[in-house]
């Protein structure tokens, strides 16, 4: 699904834990223009629920996709967040 999304920026929060993935995602989304998509790469497994919950209750953002990947034996969680008007 993510391959269909045109990613504008990528935010690397690997190694960081709650609340930083959400807080930094917010800061990065604020820098985008409407319609642009931010890719967030995290290793915090809680980020799957946290970013989904944050996106659902926050105006001006939309979660387009989430996926879990294995990168060299390490679980990586990717989130695709769009800034919307």
């Amino acid at each position: 699904m993510s391959s269909e999304l045109e990613v504008t920026e990528t935010l690397d929060v690997k190694g960081e834990s709650c609340p930083m993935p959400v807080v930094k995602t917010r800061q990065a989304v604020d820098q985008l223009a409407d319609g642009e998509v931010l890719e967030v790469v995290a290793t915090d497994s809680g980020s799957m629920s946290d970013i989904a919950g944050w996106a659902e209750s926050t105006d001006g953002v939309e979660l387009r996709a989430q996926e879990e990947a294995d990168e060299g034996g390490e679980a990586v969680y990717k989130h695709y967040v769009a800034k919307v008007a």
Binding site: G15, E16, S17, C18, P19, M20, V22, V23, K24, T25, R26, Q27, T43, D44, W54, S57, T58, D59, G60
Partner: protein, 208 residues
């Protein structure tokens, strides 16, 4: 009640005024003007309330009263996350909660194993003079290993994202702290009334 049954219920019928059936001719111009003024006032009040409710922005007030390493985290984690949600957030720091905002003391917050059954140390040992330092160092190492943000980082992101970190003026004076001891951006010169004012309008109020 039936109107075609004179006698029974007649008194009741006389008392009940149907607002739709009121004869407009029975009011003079003064009454109408007074009612119009009252109606205008009500419309204004409703419009104000709609504006207040309509912006949809949630608000949270946290009262932070503790200055140990473990108790410094919850207020700052919730505050920075709520700010990411776009909420209007105030954290009012009082008593030992002030140490969280104190630039020097916030870097030396301690964790005690005394009276904490979650710690793998018996109280008799935990009470030894050097033990707070040991448990604090252990916790700090875990925090670093886990990639958990430091207190200073959380204060920075909170202030950056618009959280109002307030330091209770009465406690600043009581603890003999100087206003310059606190992080730049911290609000000083505030008291209980300021905290209550924000709490009264807040959707979430927490005391930590």
């Amino acid at each position: 009640m039936s109107t075609d049954a004179p006698g029974a219920g007649a008194d009741e019928a006389a008392d009940a005024v149907d607002p739709v059936a009121v004869d407009a001719d029975s009011f003079d111009a003064e009454d109408v003007a007074a009612m119009q003024a009252e109606l205008d006032e009500l419309r204004e009040t409703v419009a104000d309330l709609e504006t207040e409710v309509g912006d949809g922005q949630k608000s949270m007030t946290i009262i932070a009263t503790k200055g140990t390493l473990d108790m410094a985290y919850p207020p700052l984690i919730l505050a920075s996350t709520a700010a990411a949600f776009g909420w209007d957030v105030v954290v009012f720091h009082t008593f030992w909660g002030l140490d969280i905002l104190h630039e020097e003391r916030s870097r030396n917050l301690q964790l005690s194993a005394v009276g904490n059954p979650s710690m793998p140390v018996p109280n008799a040992v935990a009470a030894l003079p050097f033990m707070d330092r040991v448990t604090t160092r252990m916790m700090e190492k875990r925090i670093a290993d886990n990639g958990t943000a430091s207190i200073e980082e959380l204060i920075d992101v909170s202030l950056e994202s618009g959280v109002d970190l307030q330091a209770c003026q009465m406690t600043i004076d009581l603890m003999e702290y100087d206003e310059d001891d606190f992080y730049d951006g911290v609000t000083v010169g505030v008291g209980a009334a300021t905290a209550l004012q924000h709490m009264a309008d807040a959707d979430v109020q927490l005391m930590i």
